[in-house]
């Protein structure tokens, strides 16, 4: 059984249809890259999966549990959504670290709050949560930076803290929304290396990216989106090296020209 099944997802903003009948699935331990030009709906798709947008149609299932079904709006209470969205983690393009907290506090904050909430599945003592956060920051190569505030860190370091923060809640599926687009070119490498190592450890991931070479090398599968539809999907190397669809070819050739 797939860990994630998205079926016929639709999303409109006013009269503009941003997502049209998006269907795909994801296996445990698989990483999938979503590519496509700006405005193709990639980010909206991630935002729908993370309950930051409410789809107008379709369904989202994780581990066989229906997290979202447009036909059943009654299940969308705020409390339910808070529980369901924890299946997903999201790393933002602009990091969105909390500026008033240190790197460590950023990673610890949500876990600490969830552990106090008796209704939540997340458990742990404050000491365990902190030890876990320190271990994660260490894995991100930030073991020495735990007590620094976001403005004292480079963009690449901030993004790695954000990845640790998302991992701290042990999501089933980790989503990346153009994780390197806000970074100076010389800083993208360190973030991509971290994502690559996560892929090697079989972290289930959905990565929206403009880094074609990275998508080809790291992702198991690639989805190409254009104008709100999935034009083509398949094994990463097949889609990027031998696209079947004309639109994919055009998009990739624009990239090759740079």
């Amino acid at each position: 059984m797939s860990i994630l099944e998205v079926q016929n997802l639709n999303k409109s903003f006013g009269k503009t249809r941003v997502l049209r009948d998006i269907s795909f699935s994801l296996e445990q331990g698989e990483s999938i890259a979503i590519i496509g030009s700006s405005g193709s709906g990639k980010t909206t798709l991630l935002r729908c999966l993370n309950f930051l947008e409410t789809p107008n149609g379709g369904s989202i299932r994780v581990n066989g549990e229906t997290l979202f079904d447009a036909a059943d709006p009654a299940a969308q209470s705020e409390k339910e959504i808070r529980r369901k969205r924890l299946h997903f983690g999201l790393v933002f393009q602009s990091f969105n670290l909390f500026p008033q907290y240190t790197a460590l506090e950023n990673v610890v904050l949500a876990g600490g709050l969830l552990a106090k909430d008796k209704g939540s599945a997340y458990t742990g003592t404050p000491a365990e949560i902190e030890a876990n956060a320190r271990a994660l920051l260490g894995k991100m190569g930030l073991g020495e930076k735990t007590d620094l505030y976001p403005h004292q860190l480079s963009g690449g370091q901030q993004q790695r803290v954000a990845i640790a923060r998302a991992l701290a809640l042990r999501p089933d599926i980790l989503c990346f929304d153009e994780p390197t687009s806000a970074l100076d070119p010389e800083l993208t490498g360190e973030v991509l290396r971290v994502i690559r190592s996560l892929a090697e450890q079989k972290t289930t991931m959905i990565i929206v990216t403009h880094e074609m070479a990275f998508a080809r090398d790291v992702a198991d599968r690639v989805i190409f989106m254009d104008d709100g539809v999935i034009v083509e999907q398949g094994a990463a190397r097949d889609v990027i090296d031998h696209p079947r669809e004309e639109r994919t070819r055009q998009f990739l050739s624009r990239y090759a020209e740079g």
Binding site: R85, F98, P99, L109, L114, H151, L169
Partner: protein
């Protein structure tokens, strides 16, 4: 004479500080409530959105937001002195003497008028501070499973406070001087006390001497605001 004047003025200054402190204590939290009211997106008729004409217009109606913004408009659009007079005299004119004629009654009426007025000004500043926090901060809290309350208190609040220290210090300094309006309902605050010497003893210098008290008080407040600003300089927004 100098000491008599000084001790009398100190008494008036005490009343000034009393109005100032009571106004702050109540208007700071009330302003936050007013700010939330002004930002309220509650639309009780939203289910009518798919219909046409008037029903569609009605579906976008935000009653709490509209009412709060109307109140803010009235309060910011009329002089505080007028509001003070209205609050003190109008209940009596309508046959409900809710304020006792003694000093406590007048102080209460003054504080009520000041709290309403300042809550509206603070609300606008709070609102700017809250809306100035990038939406990504709230979204980061959401995807981490935080509740609305947790997001406000653990994420938004301190960033808002840092943003609003300069405009709030302006407003609070204005409040110190606005307390002198209370003389209109015969509150013996600092200015009225100084002025009364002109009537009773025929000397005008005590009135100008009151300026020293205001300056010292605002000097202390300025030091306090600088300290707060420095305390919050460990992070950037």
């Amino acid at each position: 004479m100098f000491w008599t004047v000084t001790t009398t003025l100190l008494k008036g200054f005490g009343t000034t500080v009393e109005i100032f402190a009571l106004t702050l204590v109540f208007s700071l939290p009330l302003g936050l409530l007013v700010a939330f009211g002004a930002m309220s997106r509650w639309r009780p008729f939203r289910s009518l959105a798919h219909r046409g004409g008037f029903a569609k217009k009605l579906s976008g109606f935000r009653p709490v937001g509209a009412l709060t913004n109307l109140i803010i408009w009235i309060i910011r659009g009329t002089p505080l002195m007028l509001q003070l007079i209205a609050i003190f005299y109008v209940p009596g004119m309508l046959g409900h003497n809710i304020w006792k004629g003694n000093e406590t009654g007048r102080l209460t009426a003054t504080v009520v008028a000041f709290v309403i007025n300042y809550a509206c000004y603070f609300a606008v500043i709070y609102r700017g501070g809250i809306e100035g926090v990038p939406v990504g901060q709230r979204e980061a809290g959401q995807v981490l499973g935080m509740t609305k309350g947790q997001i406000f208190f653990k994420v938004t609040l301190l960033q808002m406070v840092k943003r609003i220290v300069p405009p709030m210090s302006n407003e609070i300094i204005t409040l110190v001087k606005d307390t002198s309006l209370a003389r209109i309902i015969a509150m013996y605050e600092l200015t009225f006390t100084g002025y009364s010497f002109a009537k009773s003893a025929g000397i005008t210098w005590p009135l100008f001497y009151t300026g020293v008290f205001y300056l010292l008080f605002i000097g202390i407040l300025t030091i306090l605001f600088n300290w707060v600003e420095k305390k919050l300089s460990y992070f950037r927004v």
